[in-house]
């Protein structure tokens, strides 16, 4: 341990650059994956938190509700309610809008029907949604853009007053009466989807199949594990995350390879000295690999600090973004950095142990 540590401390700039490069690779992995997964999971959790068991959409629709508005007849609510096992149904119109340069999803709901699914909106300030011309925003959006009860905002070409602020984490960021949103979108009698609550968890699957069989042109989706379903439906997401992971591995490997190779060249005479002392190949390789492991472990620790800082900065600068750095990805990021470092050290270590001891001692 003494020799690797002494070598690292002797070449402080080289070691610092090495640690920095490894840490940036891991930070890139953790933040990008955290951002991607965090955003998807946050949306999925909000949808799950509405409280239903099933979502009914038009056949062929995606999991990203905001990409469409009314496409299903509202009267399907009656048909779905008649299916055995269904306890409650809440139609929702979804729409996307921009507000103060940010992208938001708006839910048009019938407050009573929405509450029948899972308890509805929990108002933390102001009043429930009751009348046209009013909307409810969630607490995260209110805090991010500085909205308070009674504020008036322009949305979809109309002026709305904030009636209340709901607890974040349910459905969308903004809610208005479904009838008003349908009218504004010229989609009277049409809805985007239905949230369905079943009589018991045991009948969810059979009820879903029964809805598909009884209501033509619809597609049902279970809300269980909705985040995973959303992620898997995103074309290229796995490949994107895989590419970042492999990039981290390669960056770590190349940085350590370069650093350790240049070290081996610099330390040629030292390797000759170790050989003259009778150091075995395992001893020399072990010291080189240990030096790279120390550097990469420092890189991993620094990456945790950088990631923490990056997440804090993103949270302040972009409060609507969710970055989810999970223990699983911390382990993956750390492993990529350390595995890359060890792999990067193997070739220089191999070069070192193959050096002729006399030639190494003569190296200037």
């Amino acid at each position: 341990m003494t020799l690797p540590v002494a070598n690292i401390l002797q070449k402080k700039i080289r070691s610092s650059i090495c640690v920095l490069a490894v840490s940036l690779g891991i930070t890139l992995l953790l933040v990008l994956v955290g951002l991607t997964k965090g955003s998807i999971n946050e949306v999925a959790e909000r949808i799950e938190n509405v409280g239903g068991d099933i979502i009914v959409q038009q056949a062929g629709a995606t999991n990203f509700f905001a990409l469409k508005s009314g496409v299903l007849p509202e009267k399907y609510r009656g048909l779905i309610e008649e299916v055995q096992g269904v306890e409650a149904v809440s139609p929702v119109v979804t729409w996307t809008t921009t507000f103060r340069d940010n992208f938001y999803v708006v839910y048009g709901i019938d407050p009573d029907q929405f509450s029948s699914i899972g308890g509805g909106l929990e108002i933390v300030e102001g009043a429930q949604l009751e009348n046209p011309g009013y909307l409810v925003v969630d607490s995260r959006m209110a805090a991010a853009v500085g909205l308070a009860v009674g504020d008036k905002i322009e949305l979809l070409g109309s002026t709305f007053e904030v009636a209340g602020i709901s607890k974040e984490g349910i459905g969308a960021r903004m809610f208005m009466l479904m009838s008003q949103l349908q009218e504004m979108l010229h989609q009277e009698g049409r809805v985007s989807l239905f949230f369905v609550k079943c009589e018991s968890p045991d009948v969810v699957k059979t009820t879903a199949l029964a809805i598909e069989a009884n209501v033509k042109g619809v597609h049902v989706q279970l809300l269980e594990n909705f985040a995973d379903q959303m992620a898997s439906s995103m074309s290229g997401l796995k490949e994107f995350i895989g590419a970042i992971t492999v990039t981290t591995l390669i960056v770590s490997l190349l940085v350590i390879l370069l650093a350790m190779y240049s070290t081996i060249i610099e330390k040629t005479r030292e390797i000759g000295i170790l050989k003259s002392l009778g150091a075995s190949k395992a001893f020399i390789m072990g010291n080189i690999v240990l030096e790279s492991v120390i550097l990469t472990v420092c890189g991993v620790i620094m990456a945790f600090v950088f990631t923490f800082v990056a997440v804090k900065i993103l949270g302040v600068r972009y409060p609507m973004l969710t970055v989810e750095v999970t223990p699983f990805w911390i382990v993956i990021g750390s492993a990529m950095g350390i595995v890359g470092g060890v792999l990067g050290a193997l070739y220089p270590a191999y070069v070192a142990v193959r050096q002729d001891p006399v030639a190494a001692l003569s190296y200037e």
């Binding site: 003494t2 020799l3 002494a6 070598n7 401390l9 002797q10 005479r269 030292e270 000759g272 000295i273 170790l274 050989k275 003259s276 002392l277 009778g278 150091a279 075995s280 190949k281 001893f283 001891p357 006399v358 001692l361």
Partner: protein, 235 residues
């Protein structure tokens, strides 16, 4: 202790073949302090590296304490260097990133003997008079002190044979004399066999015997016995 028979070593550089050693023969008894003298390029360092198991001979046989150096494999030679040989080089060859203590400790680590490491290191540092500079880095020491650290590093392994390649080549006369005193003390008290390469005939005269080389051969086969009457020996 050391038996060298018909030793040859050729270096090939492209089509050019250099005969560094051409049938060298001599013997050194256990506990003797021998010196090898001769002009530059006569094969002294080549001989030392072959004795130390760092270089393979082209022909001939070398045994050290019964171990056949010339027929041993790489792994055996590594063990031989680790357990039986201590090197002292002209350029000291200390590890610059390690302090005096750690330069000695790494030799113990390589040897794999962990018991009593501290005591052994302190003891050899006392022999070379550097116990008060154990925390200093090599570049913070004078050249004479660096060479004494190198000797201490060789001694801490308690090798059977000490091989010194021009150990006073970079030192002034005062430091050279100190180093020679150290070698003499080691030879007299520890009974270790020492083979020292030197250009300095005055220093060679202070050893038990001189092996004079020229053109890869010993000028007088078997070496030249020297009367033990120098100032250094008396010291």
């Amino acid at each position: 202790m050391i038996v060298v028979k018909n030793l040859e070593k050729d270096y090939k550089t492209g089509r050019v073949v250099v005969h560094a050693l051409r049938g060298l023969e001599f013997e050194v008894d256990g506990g003797q302090f021998a010196s090898v003298v001769g002009p530059s390029g006569c094969g002294k360092s080549t001989l030392l590296y072959i004795l130390g198991g760092m270089l393979k001979a082209s022909k001939g046989k070398v045994t050290v304490g019964g171990f056949d150096v010339t027929s041993a494999g790489e792994a055996e030679l590594t063990t031989y260097r680790r357990e039986q040989i201590g090197f002292v080089f002209q350029k000291f060859n200390l590890i610059s990133s390690l302090n005096v203590y750690d330069n000695l400790k790494i030799a113990c680590d390589i040897l794999g003997r962990t018991n009593g490491t501290d005591d052994r290191i302190n003891s050899v540092l006392e022999i070379v008079g550097l116990e008060h500079k154990r925390k200093m880095k090599p570049l913070e020491l004078s050249q004479g002190e660096q060479q004494r650290v190198a000797i201490a590093r060789a001694l801490v392994k308690q090798p059977k044979v000490l091989l010194a390649d021009e150990p006073t080549g970079n030192l002034d006369s005062q430091n050279s004399e100190n180093i020679m005193r150290s070698f003499r003390q080691i030879s007299n008290t520890n009974g270790q066999t020492i083979v020292m390469i030197t250009h300095n005939r005055a220093l060679a005269a202070a050893t038990d015997r001189i092996i004079e080389m020229k053109d890869g051969r010993a000028v007088a086969p078997g070496g030249i016995e020297i009367a033990a009457a120098s100032i250094e020996r008396e010291a």
